[in-house]
């Protein structure tokens, strides 16, 4: 009976001991082994055997890439503009033992590092270049952080700037600036149009006046020509002017007769004398 109890206890001990000694580590993670409190080794994926009771596995670390969200923060650029930037970092644990023993919480540590590095990099840039050169910021960020995380056995694969936006007040000011610029251009364009129109109008007037003057000259020439011809025809029997005047006079009377308000027209009987009277001769 005693023999059986001892054997059953022994069997239970064997099962538990072997169970403790065999460690199966899944692909994508590594386990840290401490022997009596001190670091002893790192278990790779697959089946591993540790010494039961002496070795422990206090840390299980993933070796897959870890996505770290870098919270958005206000950053002041070189020209004193406030922008809001956030990023996402991809890290990979290369040496698990360094990661677990080197820093208390590597995720928080790297988040803070990226934040401060981002602040200092953007702080050296002007607003416009910060908004347009993401790739440069990325490269500088990676370079700045690499050395700091070397002690922790962590590899920073990439860091991407997700959003880089001016703050609300800055955005408003930029919009106002853009609107004012457009307004200025519109005003200038309108003024230019008005100037062009005025010049064209004046040109038109000038041209018209020139032609009017020319027309007057032509008319005067025609009158002179007419008078000369009449003078030739009449000779010196009577003053040619008298003829012309008489003609105009009758023409005026004719026009008078066609007007609406005066139907009674009296022709003077002695037309030449009347004309002479007009000329007071």
């Amino acid at each position: 009976m005693e023999g059986l109890s001892v054997v059953v206890a022994l069997v239970v001990l064997v099962i538990i001991t072997i169970g403790m000694g065999v460690r199966i580590v899944p692909q994508g993670s590594k386990h840290i082994v401490q022997r009596l409190g001190k670091y002893h080794g790192t278990l790779n994926p697959g089946m591993n055997v540790i010494i039961p009771y002496v070795d422990q596995v206090p840390y299980k670390v993933t070796t897959k890439d870890i996505v770290l969200d870098i919270p958005s923060q206000e950053v002041i650029t070189q020209d004193n503009a406030t922008i809001i930037a956030n990023a996402v970092a991809y890290i990979n644990i290369v040496s698990p033992e360094k990661a677990v023993y080197g820093v208390e919480d590597y995720e928080v540590a790297i988040q803070n590092l990226v934040q401060t590095a981002l602040r200092s990099i953007v702080g050296e840039m002007s607003l416009d270049s910060a908004l347009s050169s993401r790739d440069l910021i990325k490269a500088k960020l990676k370079e700045a952080i690499s050395d700091d995380i070397a002690d922790w056995g962590i590899n920073l694969k990439t860091v991407e700037i997700q959003d880089i936006n001016p703050s609300v007040t800055m955005q408003k000011a930029m919009e106002e600036q853009a609107a004012a610029e457009r307004q200025r251009r519109a005003t200038v364009t309108r003024a230019e149009g008005e100037k062009q129109a005025a010049i064209l109008e004046a040109d038109g007037r000038l041209e018209a006046s020139k032609r009017d003057a020319k027309a007057q000259v032509v008319l005067a020439d025609a009158s002179r020509e007419a008078i000369e011809r009449v003078t030739q025809a009449i000779g010196d029997k009577e003053m040619p002017v008298m003829y012309l005047l008489g003609e105009r006079y009758i023409h005026a009377l004719e026009e008078l007769s066609t007007s609406d308000n005066a139907k009674n027209v009296i022709f003077p009987a002695d037309l030449p004398n009347a004309v002479k009277g007009l000329l007071s001769r």
């Binding site: 009976m1 023999g3 059986l4 001892v6 054997v7 059953v8 022994l10 069997v11 064997v14 099962i15 072997i18 169970g19 065999v22 460690r23 199966i24 692909q27 994508g28 590594k30 790779n44 994926p45 697959g46 089946m47 055997v49 070796t63 897959k64 890439d65 990979n92 644990i93 290369v94 040496s95 990676k142 690499s146 050395d147 700091d148 995380i149 070397a150 002690d151 056995g153 962590i154 590899n155 920073l156 694969k157 990439t158």
Partner: protein, 153 residues
């Protein structure tokens, strides 16, 4: 009780226990119960041939299990190879050969390039205890942050 067990434990009890243990292996992690199950099946087969007291049976079973586990670890497991190094940055990088495109002469770090990207990048910074000229080929020994530790080939 001992007498009762001695007279009532038949070979098929061991066989059933063995099958149960092998089946239970599916549900628990550790790959331990499996060997106890195999040992129990073996005990069942042994009991068919020779009779023995229950205490000896249990002792033999425990010993056989340990022996099987040790055999497994000693002879079969070392022949397993890693089928992938994906997700294992250190294993993926160490031993890789790249060529130097920016020498580290006169400065702490140089640059090297791999023929194909490793861990998403084909150009890496490197450090080395020796000075390496452009065009030489180097083997990655270790990683320190984003910098590779290399030795000339």
């Amino acid at each position: 009780m001992l007498e009762w067990l001695n007279t009532h434990i038949a070979y098929w009890h061991w066989l059933v226990l063995g099958l149960l243990l092998v089946t239970a292996e599916i549900f628990v992690s550790g790959f331990v119960l499996f060997w106890f199950g195999i040992a129990a099946l073996f005990m069942g087969a042994l009991l068919l041939l020779v009779g023995m007291p229950i205490a000896l049976q249990l002792l033999l079973w425990a010993g056989l299990s340990i022996a099987l586990v040790l055999l497994w670890l000693k002879f079969i497991k070392p022949n397993w190879k890693d089928r992938t190094t994906s997700g294992m940055a250190m294993e993926a990088l160490t031993g890789q050969v790249g060529s130097v495109i920016e020498s580290n002469i006169g400065k702490p770090r140089g640059r090297l390039r791999f023929p194909a990207p490793i861990l998403g990048e084909d150009e890496w910074q490197f450090m080395s205890t020796s000075e390496i000229a452009i065009g030489e080929r180097v083997t990655v020994v270790n990683i320190s942050g984003n910098t590779l530790v290399v030795s000339p080939r």
